[in-house]
Amino acid sequence: MEILTFGFMQRALLSATIIGTVCAIIGVYVVLRGMAFIGAGIAHASFGGVALGITLGVNPLLTTILFCLATAWSIAFLSEGRKVSEDSAVGIFFASSMAFGVLLIGLMKGYQADLFGYLFGNILAVSPADLWSSLAIGALVILLVWFFFKEFLLFTFDPEMARVTGLPVKALNLLMMSMIAVTIVISIKSVGIVLVSALIVTPAASAYLLSDDFKKMMLLSIILGVGSTWTGLLLSVWLNLASGATIVMVATVIFFICYFCSPQRRKLRRNIEELRVEVKEK
């Protein structure tokens, strides 16, 4: 318990709460729209932004946000027509942004510093400035979700109906892509470029298995998300493990528990059992 009195630990727990919440909320839309690959793609693209910031000597947070927004919008723009699928657009940016980052880093002679930290994250190294910026951006994302709640819901559930009712579907899509991008940016310091998409997808996918209602799914996703980040963080400190990886492993274990306990699955098994009995009786 003594460890909780340290500043770095308090910041880590606060950060775990913020990113656990925001990733879980955004994750609900990502999972329901089947965009898990976009999450991973934008996250990897952020490597280019980080490298750009380090090369230019400016705050990587700023360059990464701009870089990720540009990537998200490019994916949305490219996949709007019929020529390029969203899938392919993500695939192209996924690798090319990383390649761009690797080239930039290579140009800087002798640079080894905290690249590993960006790739795999270190929640214990979150600075007060990191914490404040993730709090501000996280609050903005939550506010947007609250304000456009039914618009995002209709757009996610039935995009054509959203168009027919006259909602600005393109603008909503860009806004959602932007929210995914900034959520990823505020999370990479803590869980890393490589692992952040798991924090977005896994809690929401677990919540999906247990919910028959959208609001319940979002609430459950937040509970599982924050539960994973807190448990993962405390376990990693206690067992001296990498924090980002521990958080993702905890989220994954929770997912499998949900998978095997999900009511749909149990119902399916029961129905099959009943069918088997019925067939035997015949």
């Binding site: 329901l32 027919v164 009712t165 028959d212 209602d213 959208f214």
Partner: protein, 271 residues
Amino acid sequence: MSPEMNDVVISCEHLSVAYQDKLALENITFNIHRGQFWGILGPNGSGKTTLLRTMLGLIEPLSGSVRLFGCSPRQLGVLRDKIGYVPQYAQIDFNFPLKVRDMVMLGRSRKMGVGRRPGSDDWRAVDQALAKVEMTDLAERQIGRLSGGQRQRALIARALALEPELLMLDEPTAALDVGATEGFYEWIHHMHQQMKITLLLVSHDVGVVSRYVSAVACLNKRLVAHGLPQEVLGSETLEGMYGCDAMFFRHGDVPHMVVPAPFHDPSHSHP
């Protein structure tokens, strides 16, 4: 504007529409008047759905015009609230974590305004819509746990939640079996008589639909014929639509279509 023009809910004038790079509709002209029940009929690929999507403003016409309540679909503004749209059933993800009541409420999203939560008026409209489709007792059920017919009715309730003056349905019975299809048309016919709204439905099911609608438009890229079903649906029209010697047998007022193609199984052409 003459009173008769005032009565026109949808008007198509020399409407041609391209879908991707092919001509899907050519020179379509007809008017739909207030309170009518229209069936847009035609085989697969005849442009029925394209026509509906053009009316809704989802596809831009190549030439000619379509007007709803006197406005082009893109300029409808608040008039959109007069239009209820029921999309093709297969387009909806019924595994979505959503209860029937909440899905129906989504129909009113735009009317409520951005940033607003549903008020008591909105919930009343939703409850009335659910009552009209006889689904009040299923309101709290997750949409995936409804039967085919119930899903279709829930989608209609979503459109009715807007309290529309015009209801447009795209292949409403595509996912229903034969018995349920008959029942569905009985029900929608009854609903049309009670609510006195303008109804437009798109279907490939010439035989069943023609028994319930007040007017038909037979499409095969061009408008083959339009008007009262008993006047329009002769063998000439059917040949124009299907390109074969189909005909109707009539028992009293009830026409039955016969298509003398030995290996034609309609269920195979609609996977």
